[in-house]
Protein backbone atom coordinates (compact mmCIF):
# COMPACT_ATOMS: atom_id res chain seq x y z
CA UNK A 1 0.00 0.00 0.00
CA UNK A 2 2.59 2.54 1.10
CA UNK A 3 4.98 1.18 -1.51
CA UNK A 4 2.38 1.68 -4.25
CA UNK A 5 1.80 5.30 -3.27
CA UNK A 6 5.56 5.80 -3.09
CA UNK A 7 5.91 4.44 -6.62
CA UNK A 8 3.17 6.71 -7.98
CA UNK A 9 4.74 9.84 -6.44
CA UNK A 10 8.18 8.79 -7.69
CA UNK A 11 6.81 8.29 -11.19
CA UNK A 12 5.22 11.76 -11.13
CA UNK A 13 8.49 13.36 -9.98
CA UNK A 14 10.46 11.42 -12.61
CA UNK A 15 8.08 12.59 -15.34
CA UNK A 16 8.33 16.17 -14.02
CA UNK A 17 12.10 15.86 -14.42
CA UNK A 18 12.33 14.16 -17.80
CA UNK A 19 9.44 15.53 -19.87
CA UNK A 20 10.50 19.21 -19.69
CA UNK A 21 13.96 18.09 -20.89
CA UNK A 22 12.43 17.27 -24.26
CA UNK A 23 10.95 20.77 -24.37
CA UNK A 24 14.42 22.18 -23.67
CA UNK A 25 15.80 20.18 -26.60
CA UNK A 26 13.05 20.64 -29.17
CA UNK A 27 11.47 24.03 -28.47
CA UNK A 28 12.15 26.85 -30.93
CA UNK A 29 11.30 29.52 -28.40
CA UNK A 30 14.08 30.15 -25.90
CA UNK A 31 11.65 31.39 -23.25
CA UNK A 32 9.80 28.05 -23.34
CA UNK A 33 13.15 26.26 -22.98
CA UNK A 34 14.02 28.41 -19.96
CA UNK A 35 10.71 27.70 -18.21
CA UNK A 36 10.98 23.99 -19.01
CA UNK A 37 14.44 24.01 -17.44
CA UNK A 38 12.83 25.50 -14.33
CA UNK A 39 10.54 22.45 -14.02
CA UNK A 40 13.45 20.06 -14.61
CA UNK A 41 15.34 21.65 -11.70
CA UNK A 42 12.21 21.37 -9.53
CA UNK A 43 11.87 17.67 -10.41
CA UNK A 44 15.53 17.01 -9.63
CA UNK A 45 15.00 18.61 -6.24
CA UNK A 46 12.11 16.18 -5.66
CA UNK A 47 14.38 13.26 -6.60
CA UNK A 48 16.90 14.45 -3.99
CA UNK A 49 14.10 14.28 -1.42
CA UNK A 50 13.49 10.68 -2.49
CA UNK A 51 17.19 10.00 -1.91
CA UNK A 52 16.94 11.33 1.69
CA UNK A 53 19.22 14.23 0.75
CA UNK A 54 17.20 17.12 2.17
CA UNK A 55 20.06 19.60 2.25
CA UNK A 56 20.91 18.87 -1.37
CA UNK A 57 17.26 19.33 -2.38
CA UNK A 58 17.02 22.71 -0.67
CA UNK A 59 20.37 23.77 -2.17
CA UNK A 60 19.09 22.73 -5.59
CA UNK A 61 16.00 24.93 -5.18
CA UNK A 62 17.97 27.90 -3.86
CA UNK A 63 20.86 27.78 -6.33
CA UNK A 64 19.23 26.54 -9.53
CA UNK A 65 15.69 27.90 -9.35
CA UNK A 66 16.53 31.04 -7.39
CA UNK A 67 19.82 31.76 -9.10
CA UNK A 68 20.52 30.08 -12.41
CA UNK A 69 16.97 30.27 -13.84
CA UNK A 70 16.67 33.96 -13.00
CA UNK A 71 20.13 34.64 -14.47
CA UNK A 72 19.06 32.82 -17.64
CA UNK A 73 15.88 34.88 -17.94
CA UNK A 74 17.92 38.07 -17.45
CA UNK A 75 20.36 36.98 -20.15
CA UNK A 76 17.48 36.33 -22.59
CA UNK A 77 16.01 39.71 -21.70
CA UNK A 78 19.28 41.56 -22.24
CA UNK A 79 20.45 39.91 -25.45
CA UNK A 80 17.68 39.14 -27.94
CA UNK A 81 15.02 41.36 -29.40
CA UNK A 82 11.70 40.06 -28.17
CA UNK A 83 9.99 40.50 -31.55
CA UNK A 84 11.65 37.39 -32.96
CA UNK A 85 11.25 35.29 -29.79
CA UNK A 86 9.42 32.49 -31.65
CA UNK A 87 12.52 31.45 -33.52
CA UNK A 88 15.26 32.37 -31.07
CA UNK A 89 16.36 28.83 -30.28
CA UNK A 90 16.82 27.22 -33.69
CA UNK A 91 18.56 23.89 -34.19
CA UNK A 92 20.98 22.84 -36.86
CA UNK A 93 19.55 19.79 -38.62
CA UNK A 94 22.77 18.07 -39.67
CA UNK A 95 24.29 18.16 -36.21
CA UNK A 96 20.96 16.98 -34.75
CA UNK A 97 21.10 13.85 -36.94
CA UNK A 98 24.71 13.25 -35.88
CA UNK A 99 23.90 13.53 -32.19
CA UNK A 100 20.80 11.35 -32.60
CA UNK A 101 23.06 8.58 -33.94
CA UNK A 102 25.39 9.10 -30.96
CA UNK A 103 22.36 8.95 -28.64
CA UNK A 104 21.30 5.59 -30.07
CA UNK A 105 24.80 4.18 -29.51
CA UNK A 106 24.82 5.52 -25.93
CA UNK A 107 21.34 4.10 -25.32
CA UNK A 108 22.53 0.66 -26.41
CA UNK A 109 25.57 0.76 -24.16
CA UNK A 110 23.46 2.03 -21.27
CA UNK A 111 21.01 -0.83 -21.67
CA UNK A 112 23.85 -3.36 -21.85
CA UNK A 113 25.54 -1.89 -18.75
CA UNK A 114 22.27 -1.90 -16.82
CA UNK A 115 21.61 -5.52 -17.76
CA UNK A 116 25.06 -6.81 -16.83
CA UNK A 117 25.57 -4.72 -13.69
CA UNK A 118 25.52 -6.23 -10.21
CA UNK A 119 24.54 -3.68 -7.58
CA UNK A 120 26.18 -3.89 -4.18
CA UNK A 121 23.74 -2.71 -1.52
CA UNK A 122 25.24 -1.67 1.76
CA UNK A 123 21.78 -1.43 3.34
CA UNK A 124 20.15 1.67 4.71
CA UNK A 125 21.13 0.96 8.32
CA UNK A 126 24.47 2.72 7.93
CA UNK A 127 22.85 5.77 6.40
CA UNK A 128 22.24 8.58 8.94
CA UNK A 129 18.66 9.73 9.58
CA UNK A 130 19.50 13.41 9.10
CA UNK A 131 22.20 14.21 6.61
CA UNK A 132 22.86 17.85 7.48
CA UNK A 133 24.93 17.09 10.60
CA UNK A 134 27.10 14.62 8.71
CA UNK A 135 27.56 16.99 5.78
CA UNK A 136 28.65 19.76 8.13
CA UNK A 137 31.15 17.45 9.85
CA UNK A 138 32.60 16.32 6.51
CA UNK A 139 32.81 19.90 5.24
CA UNK A 140 34.81 20.99 8.27
CA UNK A 141 37.11 17.98 8.44
CA UNK A 142 37.82 15.89 5.35
CA UNK A 143 36.66 18.40 2.74
CA UNK A 144 38.01 21.54 4.42
CA UNK A 145 40.56 22.26 1.69
CA UNK A 146 38.09 22.00 -1.24
CA UNK A 147 35.66 24.12 0.77
CA UNK A 148 38.23 26.90 1.17
CA UNK A 149 39.30 26.66 -2.47
CA UNK A 150 35.70 26.91 -3.66
CA UNK A 151 35.08 29.96 -1.50
CA UNK A 152 38.09 31.68 -3.11
CA UNK A 153 36.74 30.58 -6.51
CA UNK A 154 33.36 32.12 -5.75
CA UNK A 155 35.04 35.40 -4.82
CA UNK A 156 36.99 35.30 -8.11
CA UNK A 157 33.75 34.60 -10.01
CA UNK A 158 32.01 37.49 -8.29
CA UNK A 159 34.72 39.98 -9.22
CA UNK A 160 35.39 38.46 -12.65
CA UNK A 161 31.78 38.50 -13.82
CA UNK A 162 31.43 42.11 -12.72
CA UNK A 163 34.58 43.09 -14.64
CA UNK A 164 33.58 41.17 -17.78
CA UNK A 165 29.97 42.36 -17.94
CA UNK A 166 30.39 45.99 -16.90
CA UNK A 167 29.32 48.75 -19.22
CA UNK A 168 32.35 50.46 -20.70
CA UNK A 169 32.29 54.24 -20.38
CA UNK A 170 32.59 55.92 -23.74
Amino acid sequence: MTSGLNNIVFLCVALLTTVPCLVVVFSRNILYSAFALFFTFLGTSGLYFFLDAEFLAITQVVVYIGGVSVLLLFAILLTKNVDAIRKTNMMSGGRMALVAAAAIVLLGSFGYALKSAVWVHSGSSAYPATTINGLGDLLMSKYLMPFEIISVLLLAVLIGSLVIARRSVK
Binding site: N6, L37, T59, R95, L98, A100, F110, S161
Partner: protein
Amino acid sequence: MDLTGIPSYLGISFILFLAGLMTVVSKRNIIGIFMGVELILNSAALNFAAFSRLTAGNLEGQMVSLFVIVLAAAEAAIALALLLAIYKRYRDIDADNLTTLKL
Protein backbone atom coordinates in the same frame (compact mmCIF):
# COMPACT_ATOMS: atom_id res chain seq x y z
CA MET B 1 7.73 -3.82 -7.36
CA ASP B 2 9.76 -0.93 -6.06
CA LEU B 3 10.53 1.76 -8.60
CA THR B 4 12.87 3.76 -6.39
CA GLY B 5 15.97 1.63 -7.00
CA ILE B 6 19.27 2.65 -8.52
CA PRO B 7 18.29 1.74 -12.14
CA SER B 8 15.46 4.31 -12.10
CA TYR B 9 17.82 7.05 -10.99
CA LEU B 10 20.39 6.01 -13.57
CA GLY B 11 17.69 6.06 -16.26
CA ILE B 12 16.48 9.51 -15.30
CA SER B 13 19.97 10.93 -15.20
CA PHE B 14 20.75 9.21 -18.52
CA ILE B 15 17.75 10.98 -20.08
CA LEU B 16 18.93 14.29 -18.58
CA PHE B 17 22.43 13.70 -19.96
CA LEU B 18 21.16 12.82 -23.45
CA ALA B 19 18.91 15.88 -23.54
CA GLY B 20 21.84 18.03 -22.46
CA LEU B 21 24.15 16.49 -25.08
CA MET B 22 21.61 17.03 -27.86
CA THR B 23 21.05 20.61 -26.74
CA VAL B 24 24.77 21.40 -26.59
CA VAL B 25 25.49 19.96 -30.02
CA SER B 26 22.45 21.08 -31.99
CA LYS B 27 21.42 24.52 -30.70
CA ARG B 28 22.59 27.68 -32.40
CA ASN B 29 21.80 30.15 -29.63
CA ILE B 30 24.55 30.42 -26.98
CA ILE B 31 21.95 30.59 -24.19
CA GLY B 32 20.47 27.33 -25.50
CA ILE B 33 23.90 25.66 -25.43
CA PHE B 34 24.37 26.90 -21.88
CA MET B 35 21.04 25.26 -20.86
CA GLY B 36 22.41 21.97 -22.16
CA VAL B 37 25.54 22.31 -20.01
CA GLU B 38 23.31 22.87 -16.97
CA LEU B 39 21.34 19.70 -17.78
CA ILE B 40 24.54 17.63 -18.03
CA LEU B 41 25.85 18.95 -14.69
CA ASN B 42 22.47 18.24 -13.11
CA SER B 43 22.53 14.64 -14.30
CA ALA B 44 26.04 14.13 -12.91
CA ALA B 45 25.04 15.51 -9.51
CA LEU B 46 21.94 13.29 -9.44
CA ASN B 47 24.07 10.23 -10.20
CA PHE B 48 26.48 11.01 -7.36
CA ALA B 49 23.60 11.47 -4.90
CA ALA B 50 21.90 8.24 -6.04
CA PHE B 51 25.05 6.12 -5.64
CA SER B 52 25.77 7.79 -2.31
CA ARG B 53 22.37 6.79 -0.92
CA LEU B 54 21.69 3.46 -2.58
CA THR B 55 25.01 1.66 -2.92
CA ALA B 56 27.68 3.37 -0.81
CA GLY B 57 25.46 4.32 2.12
CA ASN B 58 27.56 7.30 3.24
CA LEU B 59 27.65 11.03 2.56
CA GLU B 60 30.71 11.37 0.33
CA GLY B 61 28.69 11.30 -2.90
CA GLN B 62 26.36 13.97 -1.60
CA MET B 63 29.40 16.10 -0.86
CA VAL B 64 30.50 15.80 -4.50
CA SER B 65 26.97 16.73 -5.63
CA LEU B 66 27.13 19.80 -3.45
CA PHE B 67 30.42 20.87 -5.04
CA VAL B 68 28.98 20.20 -8.51
CA ILE B 69 26.01 22.46 -7.75
CA VAL B 70 28.27 25.27 -6.50
CA LEU B 71 30.55 24.98 -9.54
CA ALA B 72 27.51 25.02 -11.85
CA ALA B 73 26.35 28.26 -10.25
CA ALA B 74 29.81 29.82 -10.66
CA GLU B 75 29.94 28.65 -14.27
CA ALA B 76 26.50 30.15 -14.89
CA ALA B 77 27.55 33.56 -13.62
CA ILE B 78 30.75 33.62 -15.71
CA ALA B 79 29.07 32.24 -18.85
CA LEU B 80 26.31 34.81 -18.78
CA ALA B 81 28.75 37.65 -18.16
CA LEU B 82 30.77 36.49 -21.18
CA LEU B 83 27.54 36.26 -23.17
CA LEU B 84 26.71 39.89 -22.40
CA ALA B 85 30.23 40.93 -23.43
CA ILE B 86 29.91 38.99 -26.72
CA TYR B 87 26.50 40.53 -27.38
CA LYS B 88 27.82 44.04 -26.80
CA ARG B 89 30.74 43.43 -29.18
CA TYR B 90 28.97 41.62 -32.05
CA ARG B 91 25.22 42.34 -31.52
CA ASP B 92 24.58 38.63 -32.07
CA ILE B 93 24.58 35.48 -29.94
CA ASP B 94 24.24 32.87 -32.68
CA ALA B 95 27.12 30.45 -32.20
CA ASP B 96 27.30 29.73 -35.97
CA ASN B 97 27.86 33.40 -36.80
CA LEU B 98 30.61 34.06 -34.26
CA THR B 99 33.49 32.97 -36.47
CA THR B 100 36.06 35.70 -35.89
CA LEU B 101 38.66 33.32 -34.48
CA LYS B 102 38.15 30.80 -37.28
CA LEU B 103 40.72 30.51 -40.05
